[in-house]
Each structure stands twice: as structure tokens, then as C-alpha cells.
């Protein structure tokens, strides 16, 4: 699997995701600086990491969505290359129009960093093949603007096309209002594009992919990619 992680000024989970990717896929993940205008040839996966690109000033991800490299990311995504956006990466993907919806300020207005439970809505994707549909996994969130918003029509079309990847749930796997940490519409924690080659998610799978960190539920996502893309 040939992977590039895009580094924006203010990205701060670029190394973390590289470590998690290399744990699953072996060494060789390339870091690409945002001022580059081209991506390496033959990529199987492009990752937009978490962080505060451009300080998240104005709107989270808004400025990064216009960086030079994003033109290339869009072109590759349109050509079918897999793209994963985590946290700030997800915000950038929505601002760039590669995924529907947008992230608003958390319901309680505070930055929130904690483990949450996610229901894997489908195992039928490049990103989730190693999970069971309906499985509950534990993965941390760490964001201020994580309330996923999409209008009613948009929500319905996400449901109809099974574009919802993860929903916040309780430990038993029930998707309840109490288990919604940030006020996301329909507890949505991650969404695919129509062809399911682009995934954006607010939780950080790279932060629970190592027993030393207290859990490995996030590792399934990287293992899935290795399995489906190699």
C-alpha cells in the first residue's frame, strides 16, 4: 500500500497517523508538504491528518481546503484514489467539497477530548472491512468543531446510499442522544463519499492502535486499508 500523509501548517497528528499506518502497513509512508503542487505517483491512499491547519482560523479546515496540494488531492480522489480525513482532515474534506456536510461548534461549546464508542455502520468499505457491521469500537475524539451538520435532504441521501461510516453510540452499541458527544446530526461520526473511496471521521483511530496507549480498536481501520488496498 503506497500512502502519503499531507502536512498542512498546523497539522499536528501527521506523525501519529504515520506511526499507526506503518504499524499496519510497514515503513514507507510519505509526508507531503502542503505547498507541493503534485503528489507522488501511484498512491493507493492519501491521508489528511488531524490538527489545526492554519490555526483553524475563520472556520476549521477552510483555509487548508484551498492550499495548492488540495487541487491534486481532489483530482486523485475523483480518479478513485482512497482518501482518509481524520478530525481536521475531515473538516478539510467537507470544506473542499469532497464530502457532504460541515462541522459546527460542539453542542456544549467546549473542546472535548475523551474516548467514545462508535458503531461501525458497515463493513462494506475499504476502510472498515476488518470490522463487523454493527460492531462497537472505542476510539478517542479531540475536537472543538465536531458537530456534523447536513440538511435533511442530505441526511436522507447519506442514509439511503449507506454513506454513514460511524455513529456515536453507548457501550452497548445503542445510538442514543446521551451518547452523542457533540450534537452531530443523527450521531454521525464519519461519512463516506458516494463511491465510498473517501472517508472523513472526527474520532482518531490512530490514538488507540497500540496496547501501550490503552486499546487497539482503532487499528482495524488501518488493517482494513492494508487488506483492501495492497
Amino acid at each position: 500500500m503506497k500512502t502519503a500523509v499531507v502536512v498542512f501548517p498546523g497539522s499536528n497528528c501527521d506523525r501519529d497517523v504515520k506511526v499507526a499506518l506503518e504499524q499496519s502497513a510497514g515503513p514507507g509512508v510519505q509526508m507531503v508538504w502542503h505547498k507541493e503542487t503534485s503528489l507522488p505517483d501511484g498512491l493507493d491512499l492519501i491521508v489528511l491528518p488531524g490538527g489545526f491547519s492554519y490555526g483553524d482560523y475563520l472556520r476549521s479546515g477552510a483555509v487548508a481546503a484551498h492550499s495548492p496540494i488540495m487541487r491534486e488531492v481532489k483530482a486523485r480522489a475523483e480518479a478513485g484514489t482512497a482518501v482518509l480525513g481524520i478530525c481536521n482532515g475531515f473538516q478539510i474534506l467537507t470544506e473542499a467539497g469532497l464530502l457532504p456536510g460541515i462541522m459546527l461548534r460542539n453542542r456544549d461549546l467546549r473542546f472535548l477530548c475523551k474516548d467514545v464508542c462508535l458503531k461501525v455502520e458497515t463493513s462494506q468499505s475499504l476502510f472498515t472491512a476488518r470490522y463487523e457491521s454493527g460492531e462497537t469500537i472505542r476510539v478517542p475524539i479531540a475536537h472543538h468543531d465536531g458537530a456534523y451538520f447536513v440538511d435533511e435532504e442530505g441526511r436522507r441521501s447519506l442514509e439511503d446510499n449507506s454513506q454513514i461510516a460511524f455513529r456515536y453510540c453507548d457501550e452497548q452499541g445503542h445510538v442514543t442522544p446521551e451518547s452523542n458527544p457533540n450534537g452531530s446530526i443523527s450521531n454521525i461520526a464519519g461519512v463516506f463519499n458516494e463511491s465510498k473511496t473517501v472517508l472523513g471521521m472526527m474520532p482518531h483511530p490512530e490514538r488507540l492502535s497500540d496496547v501501550a496507549l490503552g486499546g487497539t480498536d482503532g487499528r482495524g481501520l488501518f488493517d482494513s486499508l492494508v487488506e483492501t488496498l495492497s
Binding site: G10, N12, D16, V19, G55, D56, R110, L213, G214
Partner: protein
Amino acid sequence: MNKNANPDTAVEITPAIAAEHGLTTEEYALVQDIMGRTPNLVELGIFSVMWSEHCSYKSSKKWLKTLPTTGPHVIQGPGENAGVVDIGDGLAAVFKMESHNHPSFIEPYQGAATGVGGILRDVFTMGARPVANLNALRFGAPDHPKTRHLVSGVVAGIGGYGNCVGVPTVGGEVNFHPAYNGNILVNAMTVGIARADRIFYSAAAGVGNPVVYVGSKTGRDGIHGATMASAEFGEDSEEKRPTVQVGDPFTEKLLIEACLELMETDAIEAIQDMGAAGLTSSSFEMASKGGTGVELDLDRVPVREEGMTAYEIMLSESQERMLMVLRPGSEETARQIFEKWDLDFAIIGELTDTGRMVLRMRGETVADLPIDPLAKASPEYERPWSLAEAPAEIAPEDAPATDDVMASLAGLIASPDLASRRWVWEQYDHMVMADTVQRPGGDAAVVRVHGTGRGLAMTADCTPRYCLADPKRGGAQAVAESWRNLTAVGAKPLAITDNMNFGNPERPEIMGQFVGCTEGMREACLALDYPVVSGNVSLYNETNGQAIAPTPAIGGVGVIDDISKMATMALKRPEEFLVLVGDTHGHLGASLYLREVHGREDGAPPPVDLAAERRNGDFVRAMIAAGEISSCHDISDGGLLVALAEMAMAGGLGAEIEIPESWKAAPHAWLFGEDQGRYLLSVPDPESVAAAGKAADVPIHRLGVTGGDTLNVAGIGTISVAALASAHDAWFPDLMAAERGGPET
């Protein structure tokens, strides 16, 4: 002065202007003496900041010198931007704590945020990548009208900055007490990791070498902030208000990356962040330490505003700026790196051999002063001090009883100083960098040394009510508690940084608190081989004569060789044995039990037996390394029963204990006494631990077993762990519910 004259040089300096700059009559006379003439405004400004309490430590220096600062693993003690200790494998931990008390009171979000930014710069200046932040916070009474607003702003500000730069905030402490109603304390600590052979220092060297300015542009921010941080608040503090600055964590993140990238090359001769007193203290200190002179061309300083004077440029406290001396020929390498990161880069001057600081602007010399004499003459006071009378000891039998021990426990566990801080740390990204192996909520946070199996343990501690009751005992206790917290996770404590927060040192009783705390710290540091490698002093924390409680916040750092052996406090499984390490005397003076259950704040704080502290701690650490222990928690605020409750809540598991038959005094003294040097363990094999204890001359007592979902004290009472946990978790969110939402900055 005529309208077109240069205000930097044309203002006639009078004693009144000198006084406005915080210089005493004697100090101003000394200025004139050193200059051999009347200084101009720029020069006066430079003297005033260099001799301010904040930069000169004039009241505290004499006492700080008594602290032990060396040890086999100490690479750099106090005197540089941060302390450096060897952690093995060719690596070093670099750390420091610093206060941002006054700005945080005036503008909690920005004040706290820029505090974090400042301490980060102190650490990466030395060549270290910051790997963790901590914060020690003190607020007024929870029901004071300002408290919620301050808590909300400070916590959001610390998070806002640390989260954005991508350094995890992994620990800290929060206290509430009316003594802080008018003066909160915001102490921020950063820990970084560097290669032990690649530490960067601030002493300038090399006549002719370029002096380079990098980072953000200079604005009119916080001019005179450094002197403000050293002046007691009065009713006129409104006037001083515009001295608060806005932080730009995004630029800081770029600055970290750019500086660390440049540090991979051989370009840097010396480097210094621009902290309080900005360009003045950074350039002055670099030259002073290196014994060189310096000439700056202020026209080349990147500025944000038009028409800035030399005085403003030299005294501005704009954030996110650094000053470097480069080696000849490396300017282009450096410029390219800073341009890549979209940061300002300007060569603003060079080192000279004159021993003078010469500043030029618009073709005029706007300041010319001797460096060494100014630095050497920096005032040092032996302020008069007096110790308050020590409060009476309270014997266990004299402490009031409680009719319901378990209800008292429930009250304590949900009291302001013991309730869960989850509301706070959930606003901090405590996992970014993916190396946090022990998250907030335990005795110490542990961050893995990236790519290795080692960990750095860190904690922030101080018990101000002890320091107020008996400064010396309190000072020793703060150091001992931090050492104990590191030990409780299995770490070997290495060194501390301290943040000395006190009232007005010109009052003998306040100075006495300072002297007493320092003496206690000194004894504890010596006994525990736990030197001070960096620190910060914040004085004048008082409003209208109301001083804060003396608060020497201690930041401790230790190392765990193998993180797979790390201990945590959560009870792990039923049918294990609870074992107490250390002696119990039932000391209730200045305890939380007295304060929270009986509304009393009197009595002497617990003495610290440093020899026992060390024996017990070394024993516990050895047991953790030997794999004998399932969980471990030190006993501090609230005593034994509170510690047990914390272990039970963390593990979601109950326990049953029995008060030993040998205990003849009242049960509440045994359960809530705050005797020092103790740990509570759960172990699978108590005989083995007891035997080892005997061999090490460490008192071991078997107290009971784990299991069930309640906490039982035989013959005393029972309470559900879940009920305790919900009370423990609810206090902070309930307090803050009413504050949900002023518009944030």
C-alpha cells in the same frame, strides 16, 4: 519637547518618570551613576524592566540560592530558559513552570493561553521538542461571583493554545479557596525531550556574528507588562488593563517546527525566546551571559504598527518571537527555513566587543548603555522577614468526630478540592502525539519517550493550606508529594521545577512565608535527591492587602525505564489484598476533613519525615518494578479513606477494610488523617510484600480485600462505589453549568 523631536531621546527624564517606571529613588540614583548621566527614555525603560522583580528576582534571589540544584543527572540547573536532566539513552528532559497570574485574572482566556505559549518557548528554545504540558491552577471560592468566569476562560485558554500547537496537556492541579478571590494563580509547565548532546543555550558568542529576529511581528502589546507582573494590584488596575496580549498558537506551532528544523543544522550559536520584557531582556541577557556587546538596528525589527518608537519596540511583549545569534555564513540556511514556515526573519544587529548595548533607529543612537555594570548592579534585597507563630498541633483525640463516616466521605469526595477534574482535562487534548500512556486522573501522567519503551512521569503539586499554616512544613510537603506521586506510578523522580507564588514581599510576614517554604523545599530536595533545575517567582499576588496563601507549586519529573511495568491507581480485580505502606498517626490539623466536614481551617499541617518518605517510596518503587503490585495510590488530601475511594472509583470495584486493632484513637482520625509518606496498594501476594517491607524497614499493614461494588469499613459503614463516583464526577460540571457560555474569545 518640540513636536518633531524623537520621544525616545528628547523626553527629559525626571525622578517622577523614573518612579513611574517602578524604580525606587536609590535605584534611580544607581542608574544615573552607572550611566554617568541622565538616561533617556529608552535607557530608562531598559533599566526598569531589567531591574523589575520579574526579571531581577531582587527579593527572592538570596533564598533561591539556598536550593539544591545539582545532581549526577542534572545537565543544566536554574539560570537558563529551562532545566535539563539526563533521562538515559542519550536523551534529556527539559522542563520549567511559569506563572501568568495577573494577565489571566484580567483576561482569563488570553492570559492563560499566552502563559502556555511562553512556557513552550522556554522549552523549545533549548532544543527540545515539547511533549507535554501541565497546569497548576488556583481560583477563589467556587461561589465567588468571578470564579466561574475565570475557571471557564482559563481552562479554555490553556486548551485553546495547547490543543492547537499539538502538545498534550496531561496533568495539573486545581484548588479553590477564598484566599485567591482577588488573585488567581495560573502556572503552566512544559516538558520537552532533546538529545542530551544537542542542548541550546542563550550565551551569545562571536564578535561580528549576526543577531537574528524570528517569529511574529512586534506590536504595541503589553508594553510594561513585565513591570505590571511585579506590582501589586490596586483599585486602579483598570488602567493597566490594555497590557494583555492575544496569543497566536498557530504561529507558535510554526515557530516550534522552524526552530527545531534549524537546530538540526549547525547554524545557531545562541538562542533565547522573547518573553516578558521582550527584545530588551532577550538581547540583554544573551550579551550579558556571553560577555559580549550588542548593537541593534531597530529599523530592521519587523513591526506590526506604524510609527513605533524605540522604547515601544524594546519593551513590547508581543508573543511568538525568538532571538538568535547565528554562526557566520549560516544566515541563508536559516532564512530559507523560516520562509518555508511563513515566519518573519530579520537580521537586526550583531555582536560587538564593546560590552555595551547600542541601539540605533532612523540614523540616531537611541540607547547606549553598559551591559555588565547594569547586570551586576541588579538589585538584590534582603527583605526583612518574620515567621508567623506556628499553629497548635491537633491531637487525634481532640479532632471532632463525625456521626456518619461514609456520609463524610461522600461529602469530601465531592468537595471543591477533591472532586473529579474531568471537566477540566476533557477540554485539553491530552492524547495528541499518541504517546500518553497514563492520562490525567492518576497520581502522575506518563508520556512515552517516542519510539522507546521508556516513559516520563510528571506531576504538579502544592498544598497551600499547609504552606499557610506552616510554611516550612508546607514547602517540604509540596516537594515530597510530587516525589510520591511520581513514585506511585513506578517512576524514579529526577528533579523539579518550582513556581513560587506569594504576596507582597515588602511585608515581613509574606517574606517569612517565602523563607519558610524555601527552607522546607530545600530540606526535602536534599533528603530525596531531587534537585531544583528551573523555576519562576511571582510576587505581589495580593489585592488591597489581601494576600494569597503561599503557593510554591512544584512540578516534578521522573523516568520509568519500562512502561509496561507502570502502575496505576485503579483497583484491578476482586480478591486482592489492600496493603498500607507507612505509619498512621491520625494527623488532622489543617486537613480537608476538618475544613469540609467541620468548617475549620486550624491546626498544624502534618510533619514530613523525610527519611521515612524516602524509605517508603524507594520500597514502593521497587515493588512496582518487581511486578508485586496491581495498583498503587499515594495518600494525600483527605487521607486513607479518600485514597481508597479514589482507587475504587477508578477501577469500578469495591473493597472492604478494617481499622487495625492496634489503633486506639478515634476511627475518623485513622480514616481521614493526612499523615505523609504513605501509599495504598492492592497486591495479589501480601505475604511477599510484607516480607520485603520487613527487610527494608518499611511499615506494612494489611487492611482488607478488594471486591464487590461497595466500600466497607468494618463496624463503621458501607457506601456504593457508583454513588460515590457520581457525586465525585458531578461537582465540577454542576458548578460550571451556570457559566455555559459567554461568547468566547
